[in-house]
Assembly symmetry: C2
Homo-oligomer: 364 residues x 2
């Protein structure tokens, strides 16, 4: 396998890079070739703190890493406001691109990144790790079974993290020029992604931000909710609601309600534990005799995982990269499409907020 390993460079030493550098080292299909920060000292400190092997080259500029011919792919956890510049630069240097979410400030930016990847013939994937957990595939299988679940009618998704007061004005994730999408970009990305995942990536017909928007003094979103509606196909209407917030205790709930079953998971983004994860599923539940109980309780479905989900993400990305490198194949269009649809809905939520919570119609 060693000769088929994807050689990763990491651009930016954000907290999340610690997790993904570990994942790259855990994944049999990849190796960590280099890390770059804006200064050599920071890059060296990152390598030391994370016990990176001596073989990992450290760079004091992003350009240097992109010029390294022994780097096949870059993982880029930069602030969203810097993605356009550096993602396009990476694609032009023919580096495959694993880009932290949200991939861009809006879909027009994302399209420039995707076009650069297309032109460069490189694979694009955003850093939505939960999509790669085997639990996610198992949940999808069960909600897709028409005999078990019927039709998906309603989806509810949350992503909340309680941040300290000093975060709201000062942290990078709420700086208009760095991560101007605030909680919507950082957390709402997961909510929107999980909703689209549950619908088989059908774009909603309308998106409506709810009136509970909270912003900081710079106008960056700290908390918001939205309602998504699929109404054009009368035989398959759906509705979804999400809530994302820096103001509430940690939560990541996903509830999918079908005509014949329901699914609940309360740790869909980051499983409580690495080695196995559960969800609750029930089909055909009814109230029992005199409505004094239920005929059945939800089953707890457990799915174990040999590797953490971020390493599985790296595995999948590396598999696609090696397919391109070894046989001259084309990049897989599935991952860019997922990112693009998620970004389209995120744009619509933001537009609805800007319009004072008016509905925004999507024309796919």
């Amino acid at each position: 396998m060693a000769d088929a390993q994807t050689r990763f460079g990491i651009i930016g030493c954000a907290d999340i890079a610690r997790k993904v550098s570990r994942a790259i080292l855990l994944s049999p299909s990849s190796t960590l070739a280099a890390v770059a920060s804006r200064s050599l000292e920071k890059a060296k400190a990152f390598a030391a703190e994370n016990g990176l092997p001596d073989s990992v080259r450290v760079y004091g500029s992003y350009e240097q890493l992109l010029d390294d011919p022994c780097v096949d792919a870059v993982y880029m956890p930069l602030p969203t406001g810097l993605h356009l510049h550096w993602a396009v630069a990476a694609a032009r240097k023919k580096k495959h691109l694993l880009l932290e979410k949200p991939p861009a400030l809006d879909v027009s930016e994302l399209d420039l990144i995707l076009e650069a990847c297309e032109s460069g013939g490189v694979q694009f994937m955003d850093g939505s790790m939960w999509l790669h957990h085997p639990r996610t595939a198992k949940m999808k299988e069960m909600i897709s079974d028409p005999h078990l679940f019927g039709r998906v009618n309603n989806i509810y998704s949350t992503s909340t993290i309680s941040r300290p007061e000093d975060f709201f004005e000062a942290n990078i994730r709420v700086k208009p020029d760095l991560d101007g999408l605030g909680a919507l970009g950082d957390l709402g990305w997961y909510c929107i992604g999980s909703i689209l995942w549950a619908t088989g990536y059908r774009l909603p017909d309308t998106v409506l931000a709810l009136p509970d928007v909270t912003k900081n003094s710079n106008g960056v979103i700290l908390s918001c909710s939205a309602s998504l509606n699929w109404s054009s196909d009368k035989a398959d209407t759906k509705t979804a609601i999400f809530h994302c917030s820096f103001l509430s205790h940690e939560s990541m709930d996903l509830a999918v309600s079908g005509s014949m079953g329901s699914l609940h998971v309360n740790d869909y983004i980051i499983p409580f534990e690495e080695s196995s994860a559960v969800f609750e599923f029930v089909s055909g539940a009814k109230f029992a005799h005199l409505h004094i109980g239920w005929n059945k309780k939800p089953d707890v479905v457990e799915v174990s995982s040999d590797l953490p989900q971020e390493a599985l993400m790296v595995e999948e990305f590396s598999r696609l990269v090696e397919g391109i490198r070894s046989s001259g194949g084309r990049p897989d269009g599935k991952w860019p499409e997922i990112s693009r649809k998620t970004q389209i809905v995120m744009d619509a939520v933001r537009k609805s907020i800007e319009l004072g919570c008016k509905p925004v119609t999507l024309h796919p």
Copy 2:
């Protein structure tokens, strides 16, 4: 105890009356004195099918039961459209009133009922059984602890039942003249009630129906959602969302999100089992090392119950009735107030739907 038992009459032999007649017989503080239907045959059949004791008198008209001097209180599971007439008639006959939910078609009707109860000096309570389960009290205790839970920020509540196709046009619960509130009245009542419960019965400032309303050909609601917002107290803003539907698989999820904790329960209206019920609670959860897991999982809190929740409701109602009967006390204002606030919010949701999903401001 026997001489202090509240003697119940049941007016209307709906399905739910089977459950509540059992509860009245189970409750040590009450006894079942009489049942009435619109025909003597139906009343007799109800008594026989449910194995009621021979001591239970059967009446072929509601008036006869209300004229029975040995009936202290009536339980009234009539269609909502008939509540105003019969609830007022019962109160005028000095019968204490346990009225099935929703208690009225709107708050102006409910106020006439409450005024009649007030004039008659009789206790009023609506049939929201889940409020009487000891689990509900335990959940309230835990979300009210500022050190454990912080501030309640966000509430999500569902009540859905999958009904067969032929239900949507023909069933009594979707007949404009009988239960014209449809899913909003039958199921949304619980959602609104649970949200108000979680906020300590603070009325929201605004109510907004979401655009996912589904109606039958008579205009009766089969499915809807709404967003409730508390924004006037800047130091204690809250938001809540509910979804009620006859179109989805059975669900009754309640998720309360605080600044320091979260609570989840997926059977809040009717516990999976009679004898004990659980909820999940966690406080101070954080992502663990490198965000590869959590520092703690939610605790599963189990609360056992000696009597089913509907019998505990009958117990509480009978306790209040006996307080009035034995010592000439006044009716307890807590239960009418809970019903009235729930009805006010339900009216606002309906108004928002009628306005095409425009926000409705409440002026308490």
